[in-house]
Amino acid sequence: MLDFPKWKVWLIALVIAAGVILSIPSLLASTPYASAWPKWLPQYKINLGLDLAGGSHLLLEADAQDALKQRLQAKEDEVATELRRDPRIDIGDISTAGGRLSFLVRDPTQVDAAVERLRRLSQPVALTGNRDWDVQVVDSTRIVLTPSAAGTAQALKDAMGVARDVVRRRIDPGGTKEITVVTEGGNRILVEVPGVEDPEELKRLIGQTARLEFKLVDQSADPAEVQQGRAPPGSQVLPMADGSGFIAVKRRVMVSGDQLTKAVQSFDSQTGAPDINITFNTAGARRFGRATQENVGKPFAIILDDKVLSAPNINEPILGGNAQISGSFTVQSAHDLAVSLSSGKLPVKLVPIEERTVSAELGQDSIHKGAIASVVSVLAVIVFMLVTYGRFGVYANIALVVNAFLILGIMAMFNATLTLPGIAGFILTIGAAVDANVLINERIREEIRRGRRLLDAVDTGYHEAFRAIFDANVTHVISAAIMAYFGSGPVRGFAVVLMIGVVTSVFTAVYFTRMLVALWIRRTRPRELHI
């Protein structure tokens, strides 16, 4: 018991010093003394959860239906482009109904060649041995492309990765804010933005897929048929964005938003209405120039997310790679669209399924009340331990305070997030951490009552109590670990504090106090124990 080597004392002192130094920057944060902390010391800080810092939490889910639709459309473009190349194979009656892409090959002798070229387009899906599209011939002239399950899964995974980056760029174009954007569970994206109290702003930015396409208007279509939703072969019917009816456009995409380099909100030079100025990249500019050159005098449609914004006439070839998009925009909506276009289109539509916001004021209030409650709890427990165990209570109390610093220090070191339930976890840990000392001290009392000598009693007390302390703490860790695994945001913060608290409290309440007791006994050689 008295055998407490110097190196152990130093090691314990070192751990405690590290804990205190690591915890101070977090305690000073948002007080006027924050700048007084020397720069050469560690600067680790505890993160504040959204419920304390204020901000918005959004959980978005991928619309699987939309993902499939977008994938079919992309495939259609790919197939059309491939078969238009030399030797050209003419196709018609393209349909994406039923989640499959199907079309007729006009010249039956070319069916085999077409299948051959399309099979080459399909990609093997990593590790599954499957290809992403199945190519089949039906009724000897119709080719049907069906997305394979493995291909669809892989496509969703890829799309989520892209979507995550797009969401980040849209919310934080400058890349400077401390936002969290992570994929969760395969088809979800979690967005956390501190400081934003009205999530509408975020949702406006994320809500648009922002798939921009330029297509020629099909002037041959019968207007009456179009309003019925029927389009001539090679064309499709799309609604006008302002709700003024329908319009038939050619299926073939002239240029798409993928070939943009820049989009900024501006104002129409004639009407003064808000619009968006876009700049194509080299390939896009060439394609746009050629398409406008070939179709002077004809109208083309500017299509955003399958709705036609406007269908102006091509008055002259547009060769510089610049274009204006007008529509019935407000300055705000034009700005949002410009941001969305610049950040790229979302490969899949995202739907908010959970949303939580907390104002900075409420967060501040929670921190304030939580801090007061923590301090009062610590004081109350300290007084209680002091009147119950005297000197041994003092040791337990020193351990308690050290424990508080260690919890904060470890949280800071791992850059852990403190949430409001986390504060409750902290207070609970304070209340429960002294349990180890209670167990030890009661055992020492008991052994003394049984007539053991002082040193023997202390030794037995620490030794016998440890088993129960260990078992009890394992049960805490089990429940906290399960909480951390299943819980979301704030609750996970609670579990993290509990787990750290269990580990630090065993260290402070058992090893640290034993050191204090041993040093005291060695120094004063007391005859009797007042406990």
Partner: protein, 316 residues
Amino acid sequence: MKLLKLVPDHTNLDFMRWRNLALVLSLIATVVSIGFTVYRGLNLGIDFVGGQVVRVEFQQPVKIDELREKVAQLGVGEAGITTLGNARTYQVRLPKPEGPDSASNQVVSKLRAAIPRDYPGARVDAGESVSGKVSEELAQDSAMAIGLAMLGIAIYIWFRFEWQFGVGALLTLAHDIAMTLGFFAFTRLQVDLNVVAAFLTIVGYSLNDTVVIYDRIREDLRKYRKMAILPLLNLSLNETLARTVVTSLTVLLALGILMLIGPQVIFGLAIAIFLGVLIGTYSSIYISAPVLVWLGVQPDSFLKTGEKDEAEPQTA
């Protein structure tokens, strides 16, 4: 300095004498709790049933009826308005709107805009909306987490002690959880994710006492091999009584302070753990220990056959 001794030395209470009465009372309380939970139901927050909640802080006290009327005029559906501690802080709860999940946030925005217009200086402090899909998952995950935690801990106790102790721990936990649920059903306090965190904590902490008492029972079983089981349980309970009282008091002290002066948002969490610790202290004495008697634990139950012959009482 005269030290405080809440439990005098040589306390010798005959706990086990009342074990059957305690069992009947516990059974009645558990049945009543479960009955309340089933028939009256829990006041589940939007975390588990979906919907929307807005928390508003007003500058001046506002009458709840007046606020209800104002909200009704917005045409946002049937609103449930409750005060949060005082007449300046209210929670407005709205049902989850029909139709696609994405629409669910518009109502919160509506309130966000309308309330500061009607009440200058009022502040929307928090807004939450949870779709039916997410709430279903949260409810499932929570139930699973509590179940797994109970099972995990019971298995751990089984490994560290004997199977009888594992069963005892599981029954104790079930009792504690049922009683706390009953309390929430009775008071209509809202059950949200924080309260589930509290339940998981109860699973860990209410077992704290049980583990300490079991540890002592195991120790005494080895020490006093000739003693009958009931006096032995009494002895172990009395030996650990001082510790049980002091620890429960420190935890209750800290949690009581959190409950009284801590942030209102986590009141539910604080009161649930407070209650769980209180109930857990009782059940560690009157459920955990008697269960061992009913499961037939005897002083020589855990001796291997060879050991039995040479079994002789050790002196402490």
